[in-house]
Symmetry: C2
Subunit: 514 residues, 2 copies
């Protein structure tokens, strides 16, 4: 058994059985070792941003890490932006980066770079293996670290000789640390706050937003009347009919301020105080109302679900049952194809239990509000603001949940970042419907240009936000990468194409000409 | 005048008048300020790897830096792999990265990251502006640092408030440091070595490989009989008929060892001793023959051209004139389309003074040997081993030299990394002919898999190197991004398409089915 085989077998022992990769020479032993573990699924991606974004989507849906396989520093570098998004989502990922053989580094060959330096800004744990004999143990620690609450990116650097030299045996999994229980004192203090009659909001994150955590939050709400809120870009929410309703904090600072006006107490449940996404001249970045009392029910590394359940118990039996979102489907649209029309079609036709890998950006406002009362579904947004995560996240979600339909509504500007993802969707025949909002613009920047105080932008400046010259043809791009694709120019055409996509399995792309 | 205007005007004052960018909200004042400097050309790219690769190609051809414009840490992260290539090419680049306003960083909003951390592995100079008042001076220093011999990546981080706050005036250029003169003692020592009768090789780099430097090297060769060599991936060479011939060091370690066998003295001219690109089990990475004497004529930060001229003078008038490459064009091919057939067509039909942005990878051996005696041309290879640089480098080269035909022979695996570059080629109507070697494989890895000692690779392993499922259609991908494209399946078809591309201006893609 060589080091690479000990690594892969240890991953499987630790319940990591999917690897997204784009290997190179220094990873050839890892590739060869894939055979030694038949249950390890290996997914080839044409670009490392797809690798890391797919691992992000997988981890958010599966609740456990996938592995990546990246080629030296530059391969890692190409994956960093979506690792940034994963870091902001607290997604568990075992990020494996090949390196030159230990004895080769001294020569500073052309592909040599500071891999630890590249990894540091996105990783919660980093280790370089120095011997084939320790690779298995290093791998078990990497998995443990990735799974440590609230989840993070473990970067394990694997020099080529530690892959090809002789190892002893694979390692067994280490203790799963899991989240720590929240402090009973914090629960007691929160219960007192919720009884003092002041206007209170809970900002939920992590496991407070799905399953038992969301149910417990619903009981707290029913017993206290407090508002349930979540971040604009909460990494993983369960939405739609039958679920406990949670209000999403809006995007722009002045909207957040208006949204929170009158709030006297904020209770943070694994979350942070709301701040502006960007700074603007003359606008405050801090959005908590003046005089509002801020406190923590639980910290990100603590068990929000347990804390909410304990808090609900402390508050006693509510007079009424938890609120539930009613099923409300809008009328089907006709005529012009607009973001609102797309939202109405999706709301009507998307089957229960779908997963939305949502990077709809400026076109997504209507989608979120319309889907709020659609059939129950999972929502995975762009968590770190680095565009080009949606298509890869859809890949990871589809592999984590092969029996669920994945829908990927995506802005065209962001989709151009990682368009190579389409190829992997075709290769793996993943059940993903991609909807490209073809507004041929970095539309958000036309808004932001004015918000930052630019009064009269010239043609030269505006052309830097404009994607009309030339117009991308997403049907051809998708077909060029093996994905069936069509264009919709009216609401009716879009409805026909979307209905057909929902009824079939496999990848489809619809270019929506809005 | 705000900080952004002071920055752009300072760039123009310092002779930096091209900016490749993909801006976001924090860069909107920079975008708006583009109007204040009409001579600044601003080129939009759909992905940051295209931005930085284009700046690499521009700098290598223009001999002066372009600026980039990147959006915060993740935007920089997407550009790091091609900055790695640029670092290995010693390309001067002024790498401008927007950041949150200084007062916003404390809130750790979602797009916040360790920008300095991301920048460090690729930058020779890094600075964060802290006030609009210093932005102009900081910019002048960034340009000076990028231009300091042998050239490097200067990263200037520009918080949004330093762009929008009031500045005073643009700065004037700082002293151009240029390369230092080589040590007279080193020149004298080299002259003594070249007279001692031992078999000597000069390994040339930087300005020793073009113009007056190459001419001086030719005089040294004629006077001494020494071999003239260059790195496998020398960043910028002038090749073809009429030029002084320089032998290229081969790629694999055992080839290098055979190539250098019998060499008793190596004189390094801005270069490093040759080493293996990768390590292999049981193979030495160090390729200098045992007992061979290594010494430096000039270091990378010194003037190789001046050192060679002084050395030629010290050696006295040679008995014969410097060697010249003869013009030898091969027969035009017929029948099967192979890398060799492509090379023969290109050698016959490429006009004088073309620029090759060459990422032909495993298909490129025939190209280099055949083009060696073709019409004079410039050769820009992949310098850092991080694939996906060729298409962007072609963009930068075409903008630096708008009157020269740019040819971009590219492997399909690498081209998939930065396919978004095609869009910018169409947008700017650049005179680039892209030739995709469509072998539907990471072909190098099939070679490397055996070289690293993997004996029997399974289908599962081999599938990770294979791009046939699905097959990419580069004609559709290119058309989807606005570039005219055709497919060639025979040598005759390829010749027809290539001839037509050489006669027209503007971007063209030929998918060569090899």
């Amino acid at each position: 058994m060589n080091g690479a085989q000990s690594l892969i077998q240890t991953l499987v022992n630790c319940d990591v059985d999917v690897c997204f990769g784009n290997p190179g020479t220094s990873e050839m032993h890892f590739v060869a070792a894939l055979d030694s573990a038949p249950t390890m699924r290996s997914v080839l991606c044409l670009f490392e941003g797809v690798v890391t974004g797919a691992a992000d989507g997988y981890g958010r849906v599966a609740g456990k890490p996938a592995a990546t396989l990246l080629h030296l520093g530059p391969g890692l570098a190409n994956g960093l932006a979506n690792l940034h998004n994963a870091r902001r989502a607290n997604t568990p990922i075992v990020n494996i980066v090949g390196d030159h053989a230990t004895y080769h580094l001294q020569y500073d060959a052309l592909l040599t770079s500071d891999i630890v330096g590249f990894a540091r800004p996105v990783s919660s744990w980093i280790h370089e293996s120095k011997s084939a004999k320790t690779v298995a143990a290093d791998t078990a620690r990497a998995v443990q670290a990735a799974r440590s609450a609230p989840g993070g990116v473990s970067t394990l650097i694997l020099p080529a000789d530690t892959a090809w030299e002789e190892a002893e045996r694979p390692a067994l999994p280490l203790l799963d640390r899991g989240p720590e229980p929240a402090s009973p004192a914090a629960v007691e203090a929160a219960a007192m706050l919720l009884r003092n009659g002041k206007r209170t909001a809970l900002i939920l994150r992590g496991n407070a937003l799905h399953g038992a955590g969301l149910e417990a939050a619903g009981r707290v709400q029913a017993a206290s009347g407090a508002r349930l809120l979540c971040d604009t870009f909460a990494p993983h929410t369960e939405l739609g009919a039958g679920r406990v309703p949670v209000e999403r904090i809006p995007y722009f600072a002045e909207q957040i301020v208006a949204f929170l006006e009158g709030t006297e107490q904020i209770l943070l449940v694994g979350s942070k105080p709301p701040v502006s996404f960007f700074a603007y001249p003359g606008t405050s970045s801090w959005c908590t109302p003046e005089g509002c009392h801020l406190s923590y029910l639980s910290h990100p590394h603590e068990d929000a679900c347990g804390a909410l359940a304990a808090l609900a118990d402390a508050l006693g039996t509510p007079e009424q049952a938890a609120r539930r979102v009613p099923l409300q489907l809008p009328d089907m649209p006709t005529g012009n194809l607009t973001p609102s029309a797309i939202a109405r079609v999706m709301s009507n036709l998307t089957p229960e239990n779908a997963i939305f890998a949502d990077e709809s950006a400026t076109s997504g406002g209507a989608l979120l509000s319309t889907m709020a009362t659609a059939r129950p579904h999972t929502h995975l947004p762009l968590t770190g603001g680095s565009i080009g995560d949606g298509l890869p996240v859809a890949i990871g979600a589809a592999i984590a949940a092969p029996d669920r339909k994945v829908v990927c509504p995506h802005g065209d500007g962001g989709a151009a970042y990682t368009m190579q993802a389409l190829w992997t969707m075709a290769r793996e025949n993943l059940d993903i419907t991609v909807v490209i909002y073809a507004n041929r613009s970095y539309a958000i920047l036309n808004i932001e240009l004015q918000r930052v105080g630019v009064q009269e932008a010239s043609q030269k400046a505006l052309s830097m936000l404009d994607l009309r010259n030339p117009e991308m043809n997403w049907v051809k791009i998708a077909q060029g990468m093996g994905v069936e694709a069509s264009r919709a120019t009216t609401a009716e055409e879009f409805a026909d194409l979307y209905r057909s996509a929902m009824r079939q399995r496999g990848p489809r792309l619809i270019e929506a000409m809005i």
